[in-house]
């Protein structure tokens, strides 16, 4: 998943799930849109669906300081890279076919 693809997918999630249309990529989401910790937990679930991979508790906790769209894109890129580097048995809890 490239950076532009991630951004497009994220904007769709923000519009459909949070009714936030075209947020500025460096805007503080909390200040601009009252995007709070409840929203963040909902977003993490959307990211799991996007990556087709469950996030670990540590990965989720590491996201709690994220404030902007660009930071979210960085976060997803790093998760994606970790999973690609680790292969099918690797980071997070990528699902085997048998688990689905």
């Amino acid at each position: 998943m490239g950076r532009d693809q991630i951004k497009t997918a994220l904007f769709r999630v923000f519009k459909d799930k949070f009714q936030i249309v075209d947020p500025g990529v460096d805007e503080n989401l909390r200040d601009a849109y009252e995007f709070d910790s409840i929203d963040a937990v909902e977003l993490l679930h959307e990211i799991e669906l996007m990556l087709d991979s469950k996030l670990t508790q540590a990965e989720k906790k590491s996201a709690m300081d994220i404030r902007t769209i660009n930071q979210i894109v960085d976060y997803i890129e790093s998760l994606s890279a970790a999973r690609a580097g680790a292969g099918a048995d690797g980071a997070g809890e990528r699902l085997s076919a048998a688990e689905r």
Partner: protein, 414 residues
Amino acid sequence: MARRVVITGCSAITPIGRSRAEILRHLTEGVSGVKPLRKDGFLSDYIHSGVFGTVDYPIDYDFKRSHSKTMGPVSFYACQVAKEALAASGLDPETITSGRLGVAFGSTHGSPSAQRSIYKTFFTEAGTDRRLTSVGAVDYLKSMVHTTAVNITKMFGITGRVISSSTACTTSSQSIGFGYETVKFGLQDAMLCGGADEYDTTTVAVFDNLLACSTEFNATPHLTPRPFDVRRDGLVVGEGAGAVVLEDYEHARRRGADILGEVIGFSCNNNGGDLILPNIDGITRTLTLALETAALDPAEVDFVSAHATATKMGDVIEAQAIGSVYGQGPVVAGLKSYVGHTMGACGVIETIITLHLMAEGIVPPTLNLDEVDERCAMIRHSTRLAEQPIRTAAIQNFAFGGVNTCLMLRRFDG
């Protein structure tokens, strides 16, 4: 020292409309708000009862996302009537957020549609990745029992007491009663009180399974429920919401508030036994306790809003209790005949309708009461629209669990 408690604002969402004029038009023209049960793709095909007290008009909500994201349909109803009741009261933002105004608001069981969303995580469809399903972050906030009360506190920045009754059919009468006591004894200067319940077929299924729902009028919904009538065949579940602002009389008077009525008494007790069957001793005690709290003689009560769900035994027991306490004194109407049984909202909706009747000086007939069941004949039924001043009224509600309430209202004559 006990304080006088007055009502300075109200708002309702009912199957017969929202405004006083609209509600009174339905009552005076004998128009029912009971409609065919909607297909829900879930339970409706398995339920024998095919009727529902339905809010079938659009409501223009104007809530910010940060407020609405924790609301199920029940909280949308609750916050809308709360917003309008507060506006009608004229209370300023400083008072609302001062800590001297609290909230007493509830529903039968939070938001059932949000609860369904939670249950779905346990029953994922074939082919769905179960490890990627989870309970939504806001699902609990939408579904919890006190969801209406705290969505209201959040929306208006209310920092006072929170009471969230959830006692089925006595939910909102308890809200008003407990709110009344809270102001009366000086714990708060004002209380925003009420209840709400959303469109929900699971509630219909519960009563249907207990053989308590109306089933014989599915093709003619407006002919049911039929409180006290020989052809009554059970209750009709409904939806709706209502809110009233209760306020210390001196507080209201000082700020020149428009006063809609006065709460002068409240009783609440339990039958101390069966959780479902109506109990003549328990209900009779509720009615006499209410008179005692209001220091009233039975002859001073002009109007009784009966719980009157149109179940076979419930109506008989209630009529006997009213007969033993009041005889043929006050005129008795069953307002659920117009709107169905709005569950957690019924007490406050019936209170608001009674305020409207007091203001108009009219009593509507119990709809569909064509022939009084002789076992219910010992009281003075309202069988036709009548001009009649109401100075003092009793609002009676009884719930599963053996919970009984009675609110005493007085017209405010200055």
